[in-house]
């Protein structure tokens, strides 16, 4: 790996040029209306917004992979955990939910955590024949107590106005406050996984994170008191005005008329522009911080560890500890992106967290963009997201072109019908080609 990371002369114009091409793609999407592009600024901006959020996710993955060589296969879990924050922090409180069982649920969760901590202490302090029986006794007693506290409280919360709420509800605080909370949630989970799986073989972290990702998503799907499960949480407040309010505002309608746009279109564009500004500011701030960190002695140490762990360890660096640190920071960034995504959607839909879409697609973004380079990761994220969305349109078009000479029949309609699945194949091919022929990505690390 080390020889592929050696700095090679790369034209300084490469990154700006690629960003220009990306901008041209978005301009084309917004202004031309043909088979390839939609010609709608609303669509173009919607893609851009999700692209910016994907860029934040890619930054997080890039910190873990590009700075430290850690393979996090559970991005979707940390993202979902971050997405929980806007629900718990900023949705309106649910009438009666807290009284029904809030304190008891909290107590149950504390008992659960306390049991684990106690078990760890028992294991550490005791030795000899009593060690295993004592450990099992602590775990069993803790589990029984936990379930005794937890089950009735959950039943009570879920029974409370179950058609419209049935969850614990939020605090009603401003939604922007929930973003750092989302990062915190993800960081805590990452600390737990990292504590166990880091310092072992590199693949173990991949497998352990794959597991934690699945479990977090399963929890969100099934714990209705927390996230309403398949019933989704909607109506998450926004940091920007609502389209309908803008359309009812005479000043805004007059301004839109000046620009020659209908109020409906103009309000959509304005809201999306505000979001783009917000997300862009977060992204730029993160890139700035990450670049500063990378140029500091700490960043040099991280790269030294990545390139040669044995040598770094011989220099007295605590490799496992640094890995844990960067793993937690990267996961926190992913959690932040999750909170941003749920805020943008205004909806938490636990069933939509699919590992192919939210773990491995992000990985492709980082590898394509350039692992180890923050600008590269951001570029790769926005580019791949644009292509991923457009492939939905381009795939069937392409298939129609290819199957044009074929007679109409079962095979042709089957091929046309399954064109959307071509996205996965294309993604795999892109990943393999990049890994093989340009492992340093579009914008290589300096």
């Amino acid at each position: 790996m080390s020889n592929t990371r050696q700095a090679e002369a790369v034209s300084p114009w490469r990154a700006p040029l690629l960003f220009l091409i990306l901008a041209a793609l978005f301009l084309a999407e917004g202004s031309f209306r043909n088979a390839l592009f939609s010609g709608s600024w609303n669509t173009a901006l919607a893609i851009l917004n999700m692209g910016l959020i994907s860029a934040v996710m890619a930054l997080g993955v890039n910190m873990q992979w590009g700075y430290a060589g850690l393979f996090n296969a559970g991005v979707v879990g940390f993202l979902a955990l971050g997405g929980l924050a806007p629900v718990l922090v900023s949705t309106a409180p649910v009438q009666g939910a807290w009284a029904a069982g809030g304190p008891r649920v909290i107590l149950a969760l504390l008992v659960g955590l306390g049991t684990l901590a106690l078990a760890a202490q028992v294991w550490k302090r005791l030795s000899g024949a009593w060690r295993v029986p004592a450990l099992i006794a602590v775990l069993v007693a803790g589990f029984v107590l936990y379930r005794w506290l937890f089950d009735p409280a959950v039943m009570a919360i879920e029974a409370n106005n179950s058609a419209r709420a049935g969850n614990i509800g939020g605090l009603g605080w401003p939604v922007l406050l929930s973003w750092p909370v989302g990062a915190l949630f993800a960081a805590v989970a990452a600390w737990g996984v990292g504590k166990v799986a880091l310092g072992l073989r590199s693949d173990y972290l991949a497998i352990a994170t794959l597991g934690i990702g699945e479990i977090i998503v399963a929890v969100m799907r099934n714990e209705e008191w927390l996230s309403r499960g398949v019933k989704n949480v909607s109506g998450i407040p926004r940091p920007v005005p609502y389209e309908l309010d803008l359309q009812g505002n005479p000043d805004f309608v007059a301004r839109a008329a000046e620009w020659g746009m209908s109020p409906a279109v103009a309000s959509g564009i304005w809201v999306k522009l505000l979001y783009a500004g917000l997300f862009g500011a977060v992204l730029l701030a993160l890139i700035l911080l990450a670049e500063l960190a990378l140029k500091s002695p700490w960043g040099r140490m991280m790269r030294a560890i990545r390139d040669n762990e044995t040598a770094a360890e011989a220099m007295g660096k605590d490799v496992t500890r640094r890995h844990l640190q960067i793993f937690v920071i990267g996961s926190a960034v992913i959690g932040l992106a999750g909170a941003m995504m749920v805020t943008l959607d205004g909806l938490l839909s636990p069933t939509s967290f699919n590992p192919l879409r939210y773990t491995f697609l992000i990985w492709v973004m980082v590898i394509v963009g350039g692992s180890g380079n923050n600008w590269g990761a951001a570029l790769g994220a926005i580019l791949i997201w644009f292509l991923w969305i457009k492939a939905e349109v381009w795939g069937p078009e392409f298939m129609r072109l290819v199957t044009g000479p074929m007679p109409d029949g079962a095979l042709r309609s089957h091929l046309l019908g399954s064109a959307p699945h071509m996205r996965f194949i294309a993604l795999g091919v892109v990943l393999l080609l990049m890994l093989r022929f340009a492992p340093r990505g579009l914008v290589p690390e300096k």
């Binding site: 060589g69 991949a206 990985w363």
Partner: protein, 333 residues
């Protein structure tokens, strides 16, 4: 107290389902562990190899059914299985040639090979969706039950019934035969000994004139055969759905790690350990407790079935914490 009925219930709801699930996991974990032992990376594409192979088997089964071939009481998929294995093995050997061999000759870090296997996973996942779609497919024809609940009740006069499906019995028999053949191959044949030698010490094996490319090819073929068999049996038992094969990756990895990565015997044991814990933890024990004379209040279910993956995860974590090389001493860290 009604011990007989309690035993039958345990057999019916815990032992039989866990045994057949465990056998499927064991076959999957054997493939993962062999690839790990020889090629030294965790193959993320293994779940999708199972799905891809099972999809081919389904297509061939449909073809056979269309021309009127069947196995009587046994599922037609059994005839299709060797063809499915052969086609999948050709594809997998192709991926080795195009993808993995490059990194092997460069001696890249294992994590790069893991990344490459993610790329292969994407392609195989897309191909499977392309050829067979994302819907749930049942392809078990022939007889459904070896022992049905009514028959069992009529024979024994017990209130509790017991059923053994053909797919479950078939899973156990096929797994037993496969394991027997595999271990015989690894322990007795020249090629199997070469594989074990290569797994133990690559350089020493090279010095004694073992052709590494041949060992690698053999490993891919055996792992693919195991994966396709596991995938087909899992599909016969539970129905075929592409996404399920991605999710089964976690229990399979857990099984392989519990047994010690690179240790085939451990992988089999790990598969059964994971399956039995999963079923035991997610089964509501109320009925059995009632037979034994208790009067439980709740369902006595430790975890709801949606969290069955949490069980493999916890087992994984416990093993990583206390015995990172696995119960049967796999490859060192």
């Amino acid at each position: 107290m009604d011990i007989l009925n309690a035993l039958v219930a345990i057999l019916n709801f815990v032992v039989i389902p866990a045994a057949s699930y465990g056998a499927q996991l064991a076959l999957g974990a054997l493939g993962v562990t062999l690839i790990y032992g020889i090629l030294r990376f965790s193959n993320f594409a293994h779940g999708d190899t199972m799905a891809f192979g099972a999809a081919l088997v389904i297509l061939i089964t449909w073809g056979l059914q269309a021309i009127g071939i069947s196995l009587g009481p046994l599922p037609t998929a059994l005839i299709a299985l060797p063809f499915g294995i052969a086609l999948t093995a050709i594809f997998i050997l192709g991926t080795d040639r195009v993808v993995y061999r490059f990194y092997r000759s460069k001696r890249s870090a294992p994590i790069i090979l893991v990344m490459a296997s993610v790329g292969v996973m994407f392609i195989m996942n897309g191909l499977t969706r392309l050829i067979i779609g994302v819907d749930e497919i049942r392809f078990d024809d022939g007889a459904r039950f070896l022992i049905s609940v009514q028959q069992f009740r009529a024979w024994t006069g017990l209130t509790e019934g017991l059923s053994l499906r053909v797919s479950q019995a078939l899973t156990l028999v096929v797994t037993a035969l496969t394991c027997w053949a595999l271990f015989r191959f690894l322990n007795r044949s020249r090629a199997g000994k070469a594989m074990r030698a290569y797994s133990d010490n690559e350089d020493l094996a090279l010095l004694s004139g073992i052709d590494p490319e041949r060992v690698v090819r053999l490993t891919w073929i055996i792992a693919t055969a195991l994966a396709v068999t596991a995938g087909t049996l899992y599909g016969l038992d539970k129905s075929f759905k592409v996404f399920n094969y991605f999710q089964i990756l976690l229990p399979i990895f857990a099984a392989a790690i519990v047994g010690g990565l690179g240790n085939p015997l451990g992988a089999v044991a790990g598969g059964f350990i994971v399956a039995f814990s999963e079923v035991a933890v997610t089964y509501p024990w109320r009925k059995i407790a009632t037979y034994l004379g208790f009067e439980p209040q709740g369902l006595l279910q430790l975890l709801s079935t949606e969290y069955k993956f949490a069980v493999s995860f916890v087992i994984l974590i416990v093993v990583l914490l206390f015995r990172p090389t696995g119960l049967f001493r796999g490859k060192s860290v």
